[in-house]
C-alpha cells in the first residue's frame, strides 16, 4: 500500500517535472527573444523598460486594450490550431494562409450576398461556409500527398499563391464593392445579420476560438480518429500494421486542419473587418506556424502562445507612442521567438534541459522522398 502511494506521488512528481521540462523551451525562447529585443531597443536609443511597459499597457491596460488584444489573438488561435493539428499527423501545413483567405472571402460573400436571413441563421451560415471553403482547400494537398506523394510543404506553398490570386481577383472582379466612390479591391460590407458581436471587451470570435481549441484537443486525445492521427504522425508503419487507413487519415487531418484555418478567416471577416479586403489578413496563417511551435503543437498551448503574439500586436502602437520605439520591433521579437523554438537546441543548451524521454519530437519537415 505504502509502496503504491509512494509510486503514485513519484509518478505525479515525474509528470510535473516532465511538464516543466517540456514548456522550458518555449518559455526560454520567449525570454531570450524579449532580452534580445530589449537590447535592440536599447541600442536604438530608447528605454527597453519603458517600451515593454507601454507594450503591456497598450495590450492589457484598459478594457479597450483587452478588446484589441483578444481580437488580434483570435485568428492566431485558429491558424495556430490548424498548424498544430496537422503536426500531430506529421504534416506541416504551411497552407493555413491560403485556407484562411478562402474562408475569409467565402464568409464575406455569404455575408453580403445572402439577404433576408435572421442573425441566428445568417451568421452561423457564413461561418460554416468559410469553414467548408477552407476545408475543401485543405483536401487538395492532402489528396496530392496520398495519391501522388507530393510533399505538402511544396503544394501548400503553391496553393497559398493560388488562393492569394483567386481572392484578389474576386475582390477586384465579380465580388467587388461597387458602391459609389470605392476604387479599391474589396467586397461589399457584410450585412449586420452576419456580424459576430463583441460584448464590451469580449469578442464572440474569441469564445469560438476557445471552443475550437477544446474541440481539437478532444478529437486528438479522446477519439479514435485522434488516435489514428497521432499514430500516423508518430509511426505510419505501425498505423498500417494496426489496420488504420493511413491515406484517409492524412487527408482527413489536412481537411480538419484547414477547416480551423478557414473558420479563422471567417471569424476575422465577420467579427473584425466586416468585409473581405486583400491585405487585411496578411500573414495570419503564417503566424500560425509560430503560434503552433510556441504552443508545443498542443491545442491548449496554442492559446497562451496566440495571446502573447496578439498582445504584442495590440500594444505596439502604445509602445510607439509612449516610448518612441518603432512598432516593427514586435515583428523582430516574434521572429526571434520562432527562431529559438525552431532551433531548440540553443535554448536547451542555455537552460541545460534535455529532451524528455519519449517526448514527441517536432520535425519541421522530413526530407524529399522520405515517404
Amino acid at each position: 500500500m505504502g509502496d503504491h502511494e509512494q509510486s503514485m506521488t513519484s509518478t505525479v512528481w515525474e509528470a510535473t517535472r516532465r511538464y516543466l521540462r517540456s514548456v522550458a523551451v518555449p518559455l526560454g525562447a520567449v525570454l531570450l527573444a524579449l532580452i534580445i529585443g530589449a537590447a535592440i531597443i536599447w541600442i536604438s536609443g530608447a528605454s527597453p523598460w519603458l517600451a515593454y511597459k507601454a507594450l503591456a499597457k497598450g495590450a492589457f491596460g484598459s478594457a479597450e486594450g483587452w478588446r484589441r488584444t483578444l481580437e488580434k489573438t483570435t485568428p492566431l488561435i485558429f491558424s495556430g490550431l490548424a498548424v498544430a493539428f496537422a503536426f500531430k499527423a506529421g504534416l506541416f501545413n504551411i497552407g493555413a494562409q491560403g485556407q484562411l483567405l478562402l474562408g475569409a472571402i467565402t464568409a464575406a460573400w455569404v455575408g453580403f450576398a445572402v439577404h433576408g436571413l435572421p442573425w441566428a441563421i445568417h451568421a452561423p451560415l457564413a461561418l460554416v461556409a468559410g469553414l467548408i471553403a477552407g476545408g475543401l482547400y485543405g483536401y487538395i494537398p492532402g489528396a496530392l500527398k496520398t495519391y501522388t506523394g507530393a510533399h505538402e510543404v511544396i503544394t501548400t506553398i503553391m496553393l497559398n499563391y493560388i488562393a492569394m490570386g483567386l481572392t484578389d481577383y474576386l475582390a477586384n472582379g465579380p465580388w467587388k464593392d461597387t458602391s459609389e466612390g470605392n476604387i479599391v479591391a474589396r467586397t461589399p460590407e457584410i450585412l449586420p445579420s452576419a456580424h459576430l458581436p463583441t460584448w464590451g471587451w469580449l469578442p464572440l470570435g474569441f469564445l469560438l476560438a476557445l471552443a475550437v481549441a477544446v474541440f481539437a484537443w478532444w478529437v486528438l486525445e479522446r477519439t479514435t480518429i485522434g488516435f489514428e492521427i497521432r499514430t500516423v504522425g508518430r509511426n505510419p508503419h505501425a498505423a498500417r500494421y494496426g489496420g488504420m487507413k493511413v491515406a484517409r487519415t492524412i487527408i482527413l487531418t489536412m481537411v480538419i486542419s484547414a477547416m480551423f484555418a478557414g473558420m479563422g478567416g471567417a471569424v476575422e471577416t465577420q467579427g473584425v473587418i466586416g468585409r473581405y479586403q486583400p491585405g487585411f489578413n496578411a500573414n495570419l496563417g503564417f503566424d500560425g506556424i509560430t503560434v503552433a511551435l510556441l504552443g508545443k503543437t498542443d491545442p491548449f498551448g496554442v492559446i497562451p502562445a496566440a495571446l502573447l503574439l496578439g498582445a504584442m500586436r495590440a500594444g505596439s502602437s502604445q509602445m510607439q507612442f509612449d516610448a518612441h520605439v518603432a512598432k516593427e520591433i514586435t515583428d523582430v521579437i516574434q521572429a526571434l521567438m520562432l527562431f529559438f523554438v525552431a532551433a531548440d537546441m540553443i535554448v536547451r543548451w542555455l537552460l541545460r534541459v534535455k529532451a524528455a524521454e519519449g517526448e514527441e519530437k517536432i520535425t519541421l519537415s522530413t526530407g524529399w522522398g522520405s515517404h
Partner: protein
C-alpha cells in the same frame, strides 16, 4: 597461468550508478593477450555500460582500469584509442553516405596540405584488409553494403587506429548465420595477429563456439568466469538468468485440424520490383506450427508482409478460413482472427513514444470496450493494460511508460500480449525472439506452443534454425523466393536443413 600474469586489460571493482540502477556493481574482469573473452548476460545486465567505461564514454564512480599491467585513466574515447582500445558499438557509428575509405579515416584523416588524402585512405583500407584478411571494397558507399560488411568496416576502423584490444558489443545480433560464421573466422584470424577481443553476446551457442573464456554478468555483477570446456548451454543459462531455464520447450504432438491459412501460387515483388516470392503455396492447419526456415533475404519478409496485409502481391491468393483475404487490408485479417508478431518490432509492432496502454490497443482501439462510437474509453484502455501487463509479466514502472523505455524483451512481451489477447485463429510470428535474452525467449516459445495447443494455426518464420527445429511440427524451407521442401519436423536434422537452406537437395535415404 602465473599469479601475476600481465593482462592486456584488467578492471577492478568498477562501480557505475545510474539514477535508480546500479549498472556495474564492483565488477572485476580481465582479458588475456590474444584471447577471445566472451561477456555474457541478459539485456540490462550491464555489459554495455562496462564497455563504455573501458572505452571512455562513461567515467566509473569507483574502480580502476589497467592496460598491460599499468594503471590508466580513461577520460574519453581518445584516451582509449591511444591505449589501443577499439570498440564496435551495438549500433554502428558509420556515416552511411560516405565510402568505406572515408569512414575508415574519419576523425584521423591523412592529409596532403589542406586536402584529404583519399588515396592514402584507400591504400590504408587495402593494406589492412590484406593484413587481417578482411575483404572490403574501399570505394563502396557504406549504406549500400550488407550489415555484415558494414560491421567489417567498423572493425577495420578500430584496427586502423591500431587497436590491440577490440570490444565487439553484440556483433552477431544483426547478422545472418552465415555472416556470424564469417565473423568468427575473422575474430580467430585477429587473435592470431595478437589482437585481444571482448565479445559481448547473450547467445549461448555462440559463446561456446568461439570463446576462450566466458564471464557471465547478471544485474550489474559478475556471476563467474568459466570456459567452454567446463560449461554447457544449461549451466550458462542458469548463471545468466539465476534460475533453471528450459531451453527446449516441452511440446506434445500436434493435433492438426481444419486448414486455417492457405497460400496459393503467391508472387510478391520487393521494393526494387524483383520477384522476391516466386510462386509459393502451402497451408497451415489449426493446432499445428509450420516453420519457415531460410537464410534471411530469401523472400520471407515479403511473404509474411503479403500474408499479413502489409504488402500487395503480384499474383496468387491468401485464404483465411476459406475466405479469400484482400491484400493490403490488415484490418480484414485482424477481424478474421489473425495475430501478427512482426519482424521489426520497433517499425511495425510499436509506436515507441506511446504508452504501453496505448500500444496494447493498437489493433483494437476502435472497438468496444475501448471505444464507444468515436469516443475512446480511457477506463477500459487502462484496465486492459493493467490486466495484460500482469498476465504477461511485462516489467515496466507503469502502464503509462512509453514503449521506448522498455528493454527489447519487454517490448516483445507487449506485442505478444496485445496480439494474443484477441481470439486467435492464425498466428503469424516473424523472428519472434530476435535480439531477446534467454528468459524472454523461453517465455515467448512457451506462449507460442500454448497458442497452438489452444487450436490456433501458427506460421513461424525464423532465421534461427534451433528455433525452427524446436517449435515447428512441419518445416518449409524457403530458398530464393520458393519453397524448396516441406518436411515433418522429426524427419530431418540440422545439417539436412542447412543443406536445403543453401539451395542443396536431400539425397533419398
Amino acid at each position: 597461468m602465473s599469479e601475476n600474469e600481465v593482462y592486456a586489460l584488467e578492471v577492478r571493482n568498477i562501480v557505475k550508478r545510474f539514477p535508480g540502477v546500479l549498472a556495474n556493481d564492483h565488477v572485476n574482469f580481465n582479458l588475456r593477450k590474444g584471447e577471445i573473452h566472451a561477456l555474457l548476460g541478459e539485456n540490462g545486465a550491464g555489459k554495455t555500460t562496462l564497455m563504455n567505461i573501458i572505452y571512455g564514454l562513461y567515467t566509473p564512480d569507483e574502480g580502476e582500469i589497467y592496460v598491460d599491467g599499468k594503471k590508466v585513466e580513461i577520460q574519453s574515447p581518445h584516451d582509449a584509442i591511444r591505449l589501443g582500445i577499439g570498440m564496435v558499438h551495438q549500433h554502428f557509428m558509420l556515416v552511411p553516405v560516405f565510402t568505406v575509405a572515408e569512414n575508415l579515416v574519419l576523425g584521423a584523416e591523412p592529409t596532403k596540405g589542406w586536402q584529404l588524402d583519399l588515396k592514402a585512405a584507400r591504400e590504408a583500407v587495402r593494406r589492412l584488409s590484406e593484413h587481417y584478411g578482411l575483404e572490403v571494397d574501399p570505394d563502396a558507399v557504406v549504406e549500400d553494403l550488407p550489415v555484415g560488411v558494414q560491421q567489417r568496416v567498423e572493425i577495420l576502423k578500430a584496427l586502423y587506429r591500431e587497436a590491440k584490444i577490440l570490444v565487439l558489443d553484440e556483433p552477431t545480433a544483426v547478422l545472418t548465420p552465415q555472416e556470424v560464421e564469417e565473423l568468427f573466422v575473422i575474430m580467430r584470424e585477429l587473435t592470431k595477429r595478437g589482437v585481444s577481443i571482448i565479445f559481448i553476446t547473450h547467445k549461448l551457442k555462440e559463446v561456446l563456439a568461439i570463446a576462450d573464456r566466458i564471464t557471465v554478468m547478471r544485474r550489474g555483477r559478475v556471476v563467474g568466469t568459466t570456459t567452454p570446456a567446463e560449461a554447457t548451454e544449461e549451466s550458462l543459462a542458469r548463471m545468466m538468468v539465476g534460475r533453471e531455464v528450459v531451453l527446449q520447450v516441452p511440446k506434445g504432438p500436434a493435433k492438426p485440424g481444419d486448414v486455417v491459412l492457405e497460400v496459393r501460387d503467391l508472387k510478391v515483388e520487393d521494393e526494387r520490383g524483383l520477384m522476391a516470392v516466386n510462386g509459393v503455396s502451402f497451408e497451415v492447419r489449426e493446432g499445428e506450427i509450420l516453420g519457415i526456415a531460410g537464410v534471411q533475404g530469401n523472400g520471407q519478409t515479403e511473404l509474411v508482409e503479403a500474408i499479413t496485409g502489409l504488402r500487395s502481391a503480384r499474383e496468387g491468393k491468401v485464404l483465411l478460413g476459406g475466405v479469400e483475404a484482400p491484400f493490403r487490408r490488415p484490418r480484414f485479417l485482424i477481424e478474421h482472427g489473425m495475430a501478427h508478431i512482426p519482424e521489426d518490432r520497433q517499425k511495425h509492432g510499436l509506436v515507441l513514444s506511446y504508452s504501453i496502454a496505448d500500444n496494447l490497443v493498437l489493433c483494437t482501439y476502435y472497438k468496444p470496450p475501448f471505444a464507444h462510437g468515436l469516443q475512446r474509453n480511457q477506463q477500459a484502455i487502462l484496465e486492459n493494460a493493467r490486466r495484460l501487463v500482469k498476465e504477461y509479466d511485462v516489467r515496466t514502472p507503469s502502464i503509462f511508460t512509453p514503449a521506448s523505455a522498455l528493454s527489447g524483451g519487454n517490448q516483445q512481451k507487449v506485442i505478444v500480449a496485445r496480439e494474443f489477447s484477441r481470439p486467435v485463429r492464425l498466428l503469424v510470428a516473424n523472428q519472434p525472439t530476435r535480439g531477446l535474452d534467454v528468459g524472454s525467449i523461453e517465455y515467448i516459445h512457451k506462449r507460442v506452443v500454448e497458442m497452438r495447443d489452444h487450436g490456433a494455426a501458427v506460421l513461424l518464420v525464423s532465421a534461427e534454425l534451433d528455433e525452427i527445429m524446436s517449435l515447428s511440427d512441419r518445416i518449409a524451407v524457403m530458398y530464393r523466393g520458393k519453397i524448396v521442401a516441406i518436411v515433418n519436423a522429426g524427419e530431418v536434422d540440422k545439417s539436412q536443413l542447412g543443406l536445403l537452406m543453401a539451395g542443396g537437395q536431400l539425397q533419398p535415404a
